[in-house]
């Protein structure tokens, strides 16, 4: 007789799971229609039926050490087919939210972001307020010349002194969370190769959204997400190039509109703007295919909207609007970007980290052939 595993259901996890959008999952009666619809299911790993059961039973340890939940792109092919309306796609999203919170470090930050439903004013407001105070203390928002140059009010050293530590924090926290997840997954399946090999193998899948494009019900989402991701990559590249230009080549900002880096930045802004609007409209169209929007989703969407449109707004306001308005928008931009940095390892944005790693893990364990 095989030895029996003692299971200790976590009531707290279940309750939290139900509160965070898994409520429909209680209706699941394990018919596995979802697994028949999902191409993540293999003969050995039935997905997401088994994860629905773990969530229903409160088997949080199994969920936390399961990379499959990250491979799910929430196509919602399962949700639209579920005969009990248990919405497995939404349940997976709720599980990811809880797992991000569980593995995130430092813990208080993870919990703070995890409870975005009530803590969002703090998460958004505090960085903005901090920036406003910082500027007030340093130069009292003095504008030495017109037309307005943001670098006059917020010199580069101020930007560096805030964002470099913030980026270091985000990277550190992401590293801790990723290490926990990576280690837990490794216990379940032997990996053959290094992390870098894994990342290299899945890079093109991620960059071209190959998996995402295979989605059925959730397919309209992929294009918006694709634009948004490339917008972020472009913005990151712009910032890096700008830093190099300024610090190495002593280039002064603002750059002329025809400058290559400026054009890259503007193009990125367009991608970001179109992408995020696409995603918002997709959710607004609603339905099972789009999934339910919980605080976990809404927080990131709102944050990205604020970041993108305050960025575009600041660029335009400098030229067309009164100085105080332009400065206010600029401060909002700085604050929300800071919020994005600080919450990245704990918010929905963490999927960029965990999903990529899970895909690498999967490739290294040979559980799935390259698509």
């Amino acid at each position: 007789m095989a030895t029996a595993t003692t299971i200790s259901p976590s009531r707290e996890f279940r309750d939290e799971f139900l509160r965070r959008g898994g409520g429909d999952a209680v209706r699941c009666f394990q018919c596995a229609t979802c697994s028949a619809a999902c191409d993540l299911t293999t003969p050995e790993r039935v997905f997401p039926r088994r994860q629905m059961l773990w969530a229903q039973w409160g088997l949080v340890d199994r969920l936390a050490s399961d990379p499959s939940i990250w491979l799910c792109h929430q196509c919602n092919d399962c949700s639209v087919r579920c005969p009990r309306d248990a919405r497995p796609g939404d349940a997976m999203q709720a599980i990811r939210a809880l797992v991000v919170e569980r593995v995130g470090a430092p813990r208080f930050m993870a919990q703070l972001v995890g409870r975005a439903r009530s803590t969002w004013p703090l998460l958004l407001g505090l960085p903005v307020l901090a920036w406003a105070l910082f500027i007030l203390v340093v130069n009292g928002f003095a504008v030495p010349r017109t037309p307005l140059v943001y670098g006059d009010v917020v010199p580069v050293w101020m930007v560096y002194s805030v964002f470099l530590p913030a980026a270091a924090f985000a990277l550190g926290a992401a590293f801790l969370g990723a290490r926990r997840g990576w280690a837990a997954w490794g216990e379940g399946a032997a990996r053959n190769g290094s992390l870098l090999e894994g990342l290299a193998a899945v890079a093109s899948d991620v960059l071209w959204h190959r998996r995402f494009r295979a989605c059925g019900a959730g397919r309209p989402r992929w294009a918006g997400h694709f634009l948004l991701m490339w917008g972020f990559i472009g913005a990151l590249a712009t910032t890096t190039l700008l830093g190099v230009l300024m610090d190495v080549f002593g280039v002064k900002t603002p750059l002329p509109q025809v400058h290559a880096v400026k054009m890259l930045g503007n193009a990125s802004a367009v991608l970001l703007g179109v992408g995020v609007v696409w995603l918002v409209l997709n959710r607004a169209a609603g339905g099972e295919a789009a999934g339910r929007t919980r605080a976990f989703d809404a927080f990131l969407l709102v944050l990205v909207i604020l970041v993108v449109f305050s960025g575009i707004g600041a660029e335009l306001a400098r030229l067309f609007l009164p100085v105080p308005v332009a400065l206010a928008i600029y401060v909002l931009h700085l604050g929300t970007v800071l919020s994005l940095f600080l919450t990245f390892p704990f918010s929905k944005l963490a999927h960029a980290l965990y999903r990529t790693l899970a895909m690498a893990h999967e490739r290294l364990t040979g559980q799935r052939s390259p698509s």
Partner: protein, 749 residues
């Protein structure tokens, strides 16, 4: 009958298929006093032509040579006191199933007409039973089903006596506050219907309630049951017309479930033991009186298990869901986990199941509980075949076993065997006989004192039961019917069921009881030959007291006097004719169905000489399933061997073996009997008819072999109502077999 008239229909392809003038001629030469044909006999003009001949007194027997007896019953209904009717199915058995104008087709029609005319001649007018019929209904058992039956019967205008053995009414539900919803939106607990029903029953002047009372004797027959009760108030006798047995069920004996922890810890209880805690809102572990934190419900505890109850009690899942919901509402902090093999929430209970899932957030876990053991002050439940795909264990403070239902019935037939065995021991006629009787008595000892109805019937004091002790004749086709006419089973004694079903059952059984009382009042019998009033006639001067009829009657209609002569109770009788089939002296007959009548029909079949190479086959078809299936086959224009002559019989059990002997000695080459399925899943409307026919025909086959006739000349076939497609092949294959065997050597003698 003396003056038989023949009415021939030439519509529905009959006229186009047959030489009807020859048929008319045949009717004349066979002694019809009136012969007429009509192109549409069932039309008003046709019916009027029959009626006018009857009204004029020209005829007292009518042969309607048209369609099957199952069609146009309304049109051809004539006053049975004035005239006897015989139907000849020229349409189904000839015109629609055989090539038109063929000589074999014509011969078939002529044989059928002759047979019909002979039968009509042999019929005698039937007398209606004219005994006084009691209007009162006795309800045995004061649980939900019994109370509902009492209220329903009273509502239908019958005085009711409700007898309950315990001191209080209410049964299982007396200790239950809320029940599974049976009304929209089906998602919340519902107040038990019991308190309102109890009030209504107590307030109803037509209902007499006798608690603390048992039945000491029930004699007589439907319409005239003589009931004797014994209770707190002493002995009492009264008469009732019908009885509803609603004695309910009890939970399966949990002490046999040691593997589920019963006995190992007081904290392993049954769903029934949880009820008082829920009703009084005091949830406590029996071991230390502390409230439990996690309760594990074990479904199918001792159910669907060959070592215990092999059936599903159908309501334990719903009961556990109800208990989970009640616990969640009163003690939301208590965790519940339900381990089930298949969660069965039939019908609208599905909605309640969803509500329990959504509201109580119970952990519903598929898996078979292998064991429950005490572990560190609590309990550890081990589960196999869980959906996790592995064996798992989970800790709980309290384990609730959802046990199945065992009917509160008594096995009347076995009690009688026990009594007979005791008599044999007492008589002590021989050493071997006494030993055998002692062994039998020992094996049946647990039936001692289990009597409920105490019927004064020759076949035993209680209802015969099916495999698991449920007294029922056929739960799908004929609910509430039992094998004792006038006694109807309702509620969980009939089949495992939930309170909503039990209440509905109370209604159903009360309506059956009421139907019986009014049918008896008209002198008619009930299901399945509803409306038939011709009782069996026993020519007792020739009886040899062989007791076959008293032994074989499926409905216990026959008692015996001291010598063993049958004493017939017409109101208990369902007119199946199994006694007619059983009697070696052929002393049993009905006005329209007798050994002589069918034998004469057989003798009226013209059997061609051996040189013609046209065998003849007699087919005896059960009227309930096989004959309707034949009609269906004809409707589909199936075709079969034209040598077959069909005689409908009331039941295969109503086939007397002398008919077989008559057929074979007449030179008929083979006899095929087609009846209902037998065995555990029998479909026989008279329960034992098909079974008995098989046994009797085995004996006939032995006799045939002794007489150097081939046993294969007699064949018994089971056919379900929906198996019409098999019929042509059955006949054709049998005909081929007979050709292979060669002609009946008795031909021409």
């Amino acid at each position: 009958m003396e003056r038989v008239g023949v009415f021939l229909c030439t519509g529905c392809d009959i006229g186009a298929s047959l030489a009807t003038d020859k048929l008319e001629q045949l009717a004349h030469t066979s002694g019809a006093v009136h012969v007429a044909s009509n192109p549409c006999l069932c039309a008003p003009e046709g019916v009027a032509s029959i009626r006018s001949a009857v009204d004029a007194g020209t005829v007292d027997g009518v042969v309607i040579a048209a369609c099957s007896q199952r069609h146009k019953q309304q049109e051809f209904r004539l006053d049975p006191a004035a005239v006897q009717v015989e139907r000849v199915a020229l349409r189904e058995q000839v015109a629609w199933t055989h090539p038109p104008g063929h000589e074999d087709t014509q011969a078939l029609a002529e044989d059928l007409l002759r047979m019909g005319m002979v039968r009509a001649k042999k019929m005698v007018p039937a007398k209606r039973m004219a005994e006084a019929v009691e209007q009162a209904v006795l309800v045995v058992g004061g649980g939900l089903a019994g109370l509902q039956a009492a209220q329903a019967a009273a509502g239908l205008g019958h005085p009711v006596v409700l007898v309950e053995k315990s001191a209080e009414l209410g049964g299982y539900l007396a200790g239950v506050r809320e029940v599974v919803p049976d009304a929209p939106p089906y998602d919340r607990l519902q107040q038990s219907p019991l308190p309102d029903l109890l009030r209504a029953v107590r307030a109803d002047p037509r209902i007499r309630v006798l608690t603390g009372t048992r039945l000491s004797r029930v004699g007589g027959q439907p319409g005239q049951f003589a009931v004797e009760v014994e209770g707190k108030a002493g002995r009492e006798e009264f008469r009732v017309g019908a009885i509803v047995q609603a004695t309910g069920a009890r939970p399966y004996d949990a002490s046999r479930l040691a593997h589920l922890g019963v006995g190992a810890s007081p904290d392993v209880i049954t769903s029934a033991q949880l009820e008082p805690m829920l009703a009084s809102r005091t949830l406590a572990r029996p071991s230390d009186g502390k409230p439990p934190r996690r309760i594990a419900f074990v479904q199918c505890a001792g159910s669907r298990d060959a070592a215990h109850l092999s059936y599903c009690s159908s309501e334990c899942c719903a009961t556990s869901l109800r208990q989970v919901m009640a616990i969640h509402q009163a003690w939301p902090e208590v965790e519940c986990a339900v381990f089930y093999r298949d969660l069965r929430a039939p019908g609208q209970i599905e909605h309640f199941y969803r509500a329990v899932q959504e509201q109580s957030r119970v952990m519903l876990a598929r898996g078979t509980v292998e064991g429950v053991a005490a572990a560190g002050g609590g309990l550890r439940v081990s589960v196999k075949d869980s959906l996790l795909g592995e064996r798992v264990e989970i800790d709980a403070d309290l384990v609730v076993l959802a046990t199945g239902m065992v009917p509160n019935s008594a096995d009347g037939e076995l009690i009688r065997q026990l009594r007979d065995a005791k008599n044999r021991i007492e008589r002590n006629e021989s050493e071997t006989q006494r030993k055998a009787a002692e062994e039998l008595a020992a094996s049946l000892a647990h039936h001692e004192g289990t009597e409920i109805l105490n019927l004064a019937y020759r076949q035993g004091p209680d209802l015969p039961v099916l495999a698991y002790g449920f007294p029922d004749s056929h739960y799908i086709c004929f609910p509430y019917e039992t094998r004792r006419t006038g006694i109807y089973a309702a509620g969980a004694v009939r089949a495992p069921m939930d309170p909503a079903q039990a209440a509905e059952d109370g209604w159903g059984a009360a309506m059956k009881a009421s139907q019986l009382i009014s049918a008896l009042g008209r002198g008619e019998t009930v299901h399945p030959r509803s409306g038939d009033f011709a009782a069996a006639d026993f020519f007792l001067q020739r009886c040899t007291q062989c007791k076959r009829c008293t032994e074989e009657c499926p409905f216990g209609s026959l008692d015996e006097d001291a010598k063993g002569t049958p004493q017939y109770n017409a109101s208990r009788c369902r007119r199946c004719g199994i006694c007619l089939g059983a009697c070696p002296e052929r002393i049993v007959s009905f006005a329209d169905y007798s050994v002589d009548a069918v034998a004469s029909m057989i003798k009226s079949i013209e059997v061609p000489d051996e040189v013609d190479e046209k065998p003849r086959i007699l087919a005896l078809l059960c009227e309930n399933d096989a004959y309707p299936a034949l009609d269906d086959a004809a409707m589909k224009r199936a075709t079969w061997n034209p040598w077959v002559r069909v005689v409908p019989v009331r039941c295969l059990g109503a086939v007397n073996v002398v008919w077989i002997a008559d057929s074979l000695s007449r030179g008929i080459d083979g006899v095929i009997l087609i009846g209902c399925k037998r065995g555990d899943d029998y479909q026989c409307h008279y329960i034992k008819g098909s079974e008995l026919a098989h046994k009797r025909m085995e004996n006939v086959q032995e006799t045939l072999t002794r007489l150097s006739l081939e046993a294969e000349r007699v064949r018994v076939v089971e056919l379900a109502r929906n198996e019409m497609a098999r019929i042509p092949a059955l006949f054709d294959e049998f005909a081929e077999k007979l050709v292979e065997l060669g002609a009946n050597p008795l031909k021409g003698f």
